[in-house]
Structure formats: C-alpha cells, structure tokens
Subunit: 594 residues, 2 copies
C-alpha cells in the first residue's frame, strides 16, 4: 500500500484549501510551532475607498498534509513532533515491548491467508513507558505546576494563556489526550472553556472496508476538521489498521479496547477475561492510542433496568459487558479492576473516556433510570482516576429530545465534578434514518452550548451502514457547524471573527472570499457555479437568487454610500441629512438599478 | 406542457410511499374527508410470541398525487374540494374579475416572443369575492362562534376538537390560510398549539428555471411534507407560473406581491405606486393566493438603523421598500395604506404574513435595534388586521446565534400578542454556505420548541443559487426533522408515536418497517443497501455496522427473553431471578453468539 499526499489534485479536491496558506506560530522555543490556516482576503472596493481586509487565521487540524513544504509518505508516517518534549522530561524509558501475536489481527497464525500483508513498514520505534514510580500524565504535570510544551502549544492554538491551560487541566475540567507513544499528534485540549471539539469515528467491520480506506478516511476527516479520530474497527487486521492510522494521524486517536479483546476470544463475550483485556490495553498503549473508551460503569445491578426499554442496550461496549456480567453473574471486571487500569493509563498518559454503555438508543429511553444510574458510577470512577492523576472525560448520549438535553449536562457536571463531557449527538428524533447527522447536529449544538467539550459526529449512514469517505465529510462538516454554533452561543472569544469576515465578504460580493472562509469551500463554489458558472459571476454584484435586475443587498450599499459621502455618521445626522438631501439621493438612487 | 401523476415510477422514486396506503377519515359530513398516510407494519416475532403491530397514521400533505385511485392531470388541476363549503355559506359572489394584462407576465404585449405560451388550459372558474358588507375570513367565522368545515377538517387532521380549533383561530393564536379562490387546497392550520408546520420556497428568477420545473418542485415539496409553498418567482411569466402552481397545489400558497409589482415597473423600486401594488394584490387574490407577505413594517425612520450593519438589509421586500421610502422621503405606502389592504384581505380570506424586512442577515446583526423596532410596528399592524377580522402571522429571522434565539420568540409573543410566528431558520452561524439547511435547522428546531408555528425551510443552495428538485427534498426533510423535534420537545400529543414505532422496529430488526416509518424511506433503504444490498439483509438480525458476529442490540433481546421466560416482570423479581437462574442464563446465552 502506498499513498502519498502532496498538494496535487488528490481525487476530487486539492488537499490544501483554496485561498489559504499554512502558517506556524512559534512559541517560546523553536520546536513549538503551532499550525494555523490563514485565509487570505481581497480588498474592499467602494466608490470612495479601497481597504485591505486582514487575513483570517483559523484553527487547523489537518496536520502536515496541507503543508506545501511537506510531502507525506504514509508508509513512513508523520514526523514525531513531540518526541523531544517527552524525552527531555526524563521520566520515560524505552523497552522491548509486547511481542505482536497473530490474534492481535484476529488470526490463529501469522500464515492465515486472510492476514493483511501490509504491515506498517516505517521506522519501528521501541515503545516508551513511564519509569518505575513516575507518572507521565499531563494532569500530573499540571498539578505540580509545570507548564509543558504541550500546554504552551495548546495555549497558542486556542489563543489563551499557558497558565490558564495548565490550571484547567489541573482542575480536571480539561484533558490533553497525548500518549507518549503517539508523538506524531499535535497537542489539543478538550474542555468546556476551550473551542468545542469534534470526533470522527472510522474503522472497518467484519463486513466491509480495507486498511487503505480507513487511513484515507482519517486524513480526510482531519482535513475537514476532526479534532480526534476514533478507530472502531471490529473485523480482521485490527492491529495493523490501527498502526497505519496512528503513525499517520496528526490528531489524537481513541479506541474501544473491548472490541479487539472480543475478537481475541472469537466474539464470545462470556469468554472475555481481565487478562485478555489487560493484554489488549498494553498492546494498544504501546502503539500510541491516546484515549480509551472503557465501559466500567455498566454494573451488574443496572442491567435489569434496561429490560423494559424500547431499545434496550445499544452501546456495543455496554452490551458486551452486560452479556459478560449476566453470564457469570459477577460484577463488571472493568469496574473491579479499575485501579489496575489506572496504573496502565498513567504509564503512557492515556486518557479515560468513560463509556456510557447504558445510553438511550431512542427518544423513549432518554434520561431513564439506567442511564442516570450509570452516570453516578462514572462520577465515582472519575474520582478514582483523578486520585491516580489520570485524565478523564465522560461519554454521554445518544437519543434525547430537546427539552431533556440540558438535564444531561447538568447532571454530568454535578456527578462528574466538571470532568469534560463527550456526547454522541444527541439525536433529537428517531424518525430520520439517512439524515441522522442532522437530527443529531441539533442536539449536539445545544449540548455544546450548555457545556459539552467534545461532540462525537454522526454520519448520514448512522443506523444503516458504515460511512464512506463522502459520509465522513458530511458528518465532519455538520459537526463543525454544531461546534461552531456552540462556540458562538458560549461567547467563546474570537469565534465570531470568521462569521463576521464571511458576512462582510458576502455583503461586498467578494464571492471567492466567501467561499474560502466557509467550512467547505469546494462545496460552496460547486453550488454557486451550478447556477452561474461563468468566472464573471464570481465578481458580479448579484447572484442567481434575485438576478441582476434588483439585488436586495445593493440598497444597503447605496444607503451606506450616501451616509459616507455626506458624512452622516450618527443616526441623528443620518435622519437629518436624509431629509435635507432627499433630492440628491433621488438622483444617486435612480441611476443604480438600471 | 403536460405532466400526469399516477403511481407509476415517476423519475427516481414512486410517488406513493412504500408500505403505506392513503386513507381518508370522514368527518360529520361525507365531503369532509381528511387524508392520512397509513404505514403498515409487520409482526413482532420472538421465540415466545407473535404480535401484530398497529399501523401508524401520519399527517399527509401530499394531496391526491399519492392516491392510487386518482390520476392527476396538471393541465386540469386538482378537484376543488372546498367549493361547496365556500358557496353554501352564502356570503360570496362570482364576478367577472380583472382582465389579464401582458405586464402580469412582465411583457409589454401579449405577442412578446418570450411570453410563455403555456397558459393554464384547465377550466377557468370566475373569481369569487365576499358580497358587499360581508367578511369571509375564517377568523370572522370563528369569532362568531361558527365551526366551519375547514375547522372540522383541521381538527381531525390534528387530532384535536373542532371547538378548540375554532377558539385558537378566534383568539388570533392560529390561522387557516384559505383563499376562497383556492378551493383545491386541503385546510391546514398554523399556530403554536398544533403541529409545527414548514414552508418550502420555490419560484423562478430572471436567471433560471421554467414553469414546468416550478410545478414539479411544488408537487415534490408537498410529497416530502411541505405544509405550505411560497412562490417567490421574480422573472418573466410570473402570472402564468402562479396559475399552474395554485391550480395544482394541495397546500396553501403564499407570495410576496411586491416582487411582481416591481416587475410591472421594470425593476425600478422608486416607480412603485400604491395603484400598481393594489392591482397586483387583486390579480393574485383572484388567482387564489392564500397568504401575502407584506413588508409594511419597514418604516422610513428605521432605515438609518441599518446603515452600520455588517449586512445591511437582506430581505428583498425590505430593501425594495427601503429604496422607495428613501427615494421619495415618504412613509412606506404599505404602512399608510394598510387598512385598504385589510379590506382586500377580508374580501378573499387572504392571511397576512407580516414581513420582517429588517431581519438580520448575519450573526453580527442579530437582535439589533432595527430588527426589534420593526417588530414593534408589526405588533401594531397585527392589531389593525384583527380589527378587520383578517388573519395574521408574523415573520421572523434570519441569522441568530443560539443564545439569542429565545429573545426573538419572547418579544414576538409580547409585541404581536401571540399571533403565530413564522421564521426563516434562524441560521445559527454564517460560516457554512452549502450547508445552510443544517445551520438553520438547529435554530429552527429550537425556535419551534420555544413556540414558533411555522418554519420556512432553507435549502443547501441558500446564499449560493436557486434550489433544484434535490435541494427541495433535502430542505424539506431537514425541516420536517426540525419541526418534529420541536413537536417532541413541546410534548405535542401523539408526536412520539412515530419515534416509538420506528425504534421498536429498529430494535426488532424489522428493517422494512424502519425504512417505511422514516421521513425519507427511499434514502434510508438506499443507504442500507449500499453496504448490504442482499434482500436477505432486510430480515437479518444484524447490520453492516457491527457485522453478524456480535450485535449490540441482541444482548437486550436475550435479557428480555430471559425475563419473559421466567416471568420476571418487576426489577426486583428480575434481580432475584437473575441470581437464582444464573446457570440457566449461561446455557441460553452461550448458544446465541455462535
């Protein structure tokens, strides 16, 4: 397998964004280089003036793929930008690591004909771990008052002070998912006092999809703006697929380790053991997974609470654990071994994403006893993780009608003491399969406004099939909309700059600027060109909606021009001048709409 | 031009919905026949029982096009179902009506080569008007305590009592747009104590589109669920296009008469006169337009308030009136002639949709002084209309960030004394052209929950071009989602039935039922089949998301089966039984996941 990314046409679109350039903002040391996308704008030209418009810098998740000075060869992986920072702290050591086994990819032997031969060929670094007795989590550093390079990087990225970032991490209100074995990822933060983030799920299943497709989906998702990627693969070749994804991902990678553990016991949930699970955690920890979804809150006694639900248990991880608990009539081993899991997490700095295995799968089941009982347990587990200085976020629903959304946020804040909330949507109605990116974007925007830190995207294929590349794009853009709408509603500093710049461009008929400032410039341009394809239409002071004869936006230009020409800066002056100079306006006005 | 609709394959999809049949619920007299779509469901089959699932009846806006017993010929138009009700009230008279002029279609003579020759060929009825001294509005009847057949029809349609419908209309909280010259339309109601409605805009412009396309978009939009259609045509052949649309529309039609008036004065706003406008109102009244958007609230003194906005005035009607006011330095003639307009409205029972000509066109301009000043005037005009027993709804924004949405609803309720609110979105961010159906569905769902009665759809082409047929489908379905999410959040009786039925079908792997219950069955099926096309997959107890080996939904079935078999109906019994019968569950459970 070989894919290399340059800025040549790559399929349908250029990898780099039109009218934009990649810039890096340097921090206190030369190896802190924070990538941003700078969108160049053309001038504002009126009859009375020509004014430059400052370029707009936007948050950039796309990694080196959009840097024209870098050619990424996915067979080699991305440069390990954090390696030096990790090493210089002096608290990690290289070690031999776990030996890869055939069952890591779902086979009995390495000679199984179905085994994917595309083992990642790039430089195989030995894994790192915390030295005995040390703790390498960003939470641990933050609590000790240390501002790490990761925190400074994030401060620049979010336009905040480094000390503020440290404090948010120290308090548990934010996390920096950053496994020491994933030095390729650009540091990012998840917390409600920062930009709302979005996650994109990818991953093959037993039915469909190849490694190559999954790597492509990852690069594609981060190009459009995914802040983290979850690899939810469930079929064969899980280990190898993940290796390719991590080595090439500029964003943190999350997984649900129980999926792979289940493959190792041939899909028989009751055959799962703590040992198989623990081995899987180590395997993935050494590869560099940045956060693990762990369904440790699905307690034996909560399972009966789901018996009368309309849709029972819909979380895959939740149902695996419920099956195990019922079969053995024992407490969930993720719960009983939770402190041992914490020990692993802090050895690599992997963050918990405490899974909501009992989330509602339908409007009818929203905010029920099972869901909130589990949430209380997740709050209890948050405290245990914090005792170990392990970073934690908490997963949330699911399917929830609008009027019940806020209760989810409020209860989570209370039960989990402000640990970041990470929700799947929620979907605000069940009746639109094929459009669940939309049913859920409504809920996602709202819960983001109420305080959720990261929104897990939903694609148009939800409930129907696995997303392809186009679905990934649709899902990511839809969730960028929800996240940005939430940032605006929260009054996040600077969020509105982009809206204002785009609206100003729209008002001034700077079509190219309008496209380039949008979340999906290619789509905007394509839709515009469908009706008015001529290049001249890109500078036209009208559009296909009204046509050239009367444009609703132009009257405002005349009003403004009139005010400018006559120096009518205040409303009072305007009204007075308007009266006095009605005749002049008549002459000016009548010449315009011909 | 000739299009006839049967239930043969019509382009990509059947006109009728799969798994559904058209039913009519009869009222107190045989000519009150309320159409509904009945979705048939298959049986629930478990190891221990087979149970029928009741069919689900849903609100149906599609008109005779989905009735297999009717073949619609659009050259003849739909049957005039309300004619008898209108006539038997004894307060209307036929008259000769206004003679059609070449300028009604934008030409100087009938021999202009650009004139569309497709004059509507169907039976030309003479127009009706109220007899001198009478008032034929539904509001007038409601205030007199009369329950009209229209009200009874609506009561059945909405599952409410006729007297409740009458009372809501009498109080002004709801309107029934029902021009006596549009007897083809099936009565519907717009008010916050009923289902939230959606409007779809269609219409050609000077740049693009034909009559045939517009009629097709109308039938297409109502098939997917549009409750009303606005014809916003602005180019040539406006009169003829509208005639075809009205004669074939099963839902009320709205227009913005100033658009056509402007065409009659060759696009020069300052040449508009009350006489040209009045003539246009009469022309459209006789054709059967059910509601008029009238920008009577754009007062001369408000125009300067827009001078410093980021996007000025974005409403086409608003900017036309602003242009007129400034040029003449006179008050808006729609405001000064408002009572004369009321006289026309009550002669035909046309409802006001008081236009928000100063709505914000960007996040930056949301909830500003100009917007709320105009709203106060719309409140004043509402009272004047009510004095004449003319029905009124009030239009709202536009672009509004989430945290400012509720203020719009609260202020409108207060200023306009609970007259129905009809909003365009609102869009919750400006940065996603190409996806504004989504940026606005977020705002639309929220404002619908807060009390807005009708949501004007936004298509993916908003800001970029005119919607084609696919954009209409995408826009309508997106707004059905927003409206339904709002109904759920408001706790509208019965709204959740469809969600529950679909979720139950999903849980029981009744794939066909799941598709048929969804807002867009074709899309759902198409997406499902993309990954698992085999017919067998329609009955499979798994899907492509997890594959056949482990399905997260199945554990819940085992739990339920276990409870059923052992008669464990309460949670207590379940927990006790679970403990006692662990061994039995082990045997049952272990046989399932092979």
């Amino acid at each position: 397998m070989s894919m290399s990314f340059t800025n040549e046409k790559n399929g349908a679109v250029m990898f780099q964004f039109p009218g934009s350039k990649k810039v890096y903002v340097e921090g206190s040391r030369p190896d802190i280089r924070v990538p941003m996308r700078e969108i160049m704008l053309s001038e504002t030209k009126t009859e009375v003036k020509v004014e430059a418009n400052s370029p707009v810098r936007v948050y950039d998740t796309s990694g080196p793929y959009t840097d024209p000075d870098v050619t990424v060869d996915i067979a080699k992986g991305l440069p390990p930008l954090r390696s030096k920072w990790i090493q210089e702290r002096g608290d990690v050591e290289e070690y031999e690591g776990r030996e890869m086994k055939p069952e890591d990819n779902g086979f009995k032997s390495n000679h199984d004909p179905r085994a994917d031969r595309h083992i990642f060929p790039g430089l195989k670094r030995k894994p790192l771990r915390a030295k005995k007795g040390t703790n390498v989590t960003q939470l641990h550093y933050a609590k000790k008052g240390i501002v790490t390079p990761e925190m400074e990087f994030i401060a620049i990225r979010e336009n905040m002070k480094p000390e503020f970032v440290r404090d948010e991490v120290a308090s548990g209100r934010a996390i920096i998912p950053a496994n020491i074995n994933h030095p390729e990822a650009e540091p990012m933060i998840i917390g409600r006092n920062f930009h709302v983030k979005i996650n994109a799920n990818i991953g093959n299943s037993a039915v469909t999809s190849s490694i190559e497709e999954e790597v492509e989906k990852m690069t594609w998702a981060t190009r459009w703006g995914a802040d983290t990627i979850m690899d939810l693969s469930t079929g064969k070749n899980i280990h190898t697929t993940r290796e390719w994804i991590i080595r090439n991902s500029p964003v943190p990678i999350g997984t649900v380790p129980i999926y792979q553990a289940l493959e190792k016991v041939n899909g028989v949930a009751e055959d799962l053991t703590w040992e198989v699970y623990r081995d899987t955690l180590l395997e993935q920890a050494e590869q560099g997974v940045d956060y693990f979804t762990i369904h440790a809150g699905v307690l034996l006694r909560y399972v009966p609470l789901t018996a009368n639900r309309v849709t029972g248990i819909v979380s895959r991880g939740g149902s695996i654990m419920a099956q195990w608990c019922l079969y053995h009539h024992k407490e969930n081993f993720l719960y009983t071994h939770f402190e041992e899991i914490c020990d692993i997490m802090k050895t690599y700095d992997i963050a918990f994403s405490l899974g909501d295995g009992l989330r509602p799968g339908s409007i009818a089941d929203a905010n029920d006893q099972a869901q909130f009982a589990e949430l209380e347990t997740l709050g209890e587990l948050t405290k245990i993780a914090w005792k170990h200085d392990v970073q934690v976020m908490v997963e949330g629903p699911g399917h929830v009608p609008m009027h019940l959304i806020k209760e989810n946020m409020d209860r989570q804040m209370e039960a989990c003491q402000e640990a970041p909330f990470y929700t799947l949507g929620p979907l605000t109605t069940d009746i639109a399969p094929g459009y669940d990116h939309i049913t859920s974007a409504i809920g996602a925007a709202m819960i983001g406004w109420y305080g959720t830190s990261m929104l897990c995207y939903v694609t148009p294929k939800e409930h129907l099939g696995l997303p392809n590349k186009d679905d990934v794009r649709e899902g990511v853009i839809t969730y960028k909309i929800a996240a940005h709408a939430a940032d605006l509603a929260k009054g996040h500093p600077g969020a509105q700059l982009r809206d204002d710049a785009l609206s100003k461009a729209r008002f001034e008929f700077r079509w190219e600027d309008q496209f380039n400032l949008s979340l999906d410039p290619e789509r905007a341009m394509e839709y515009h060109d469908e009706t008015l394809p001529a290049d001249a239409a890109k500078t036209a002071h009208f559009c296909s909606m009204c046509g050239p004869k009367f444009c609703s936006m132009r009257i405002s230009h005349d009003i403004r021009k009139y005010a400018e020409k006559n120096n009518l800066n205040t409303q009072e002056a305007f009204e007075k001048g308007m009266q006095e100079k009605a005749a002049e306006f008549q002459r000016a006005g009548s010449s315009i709409y011909q």
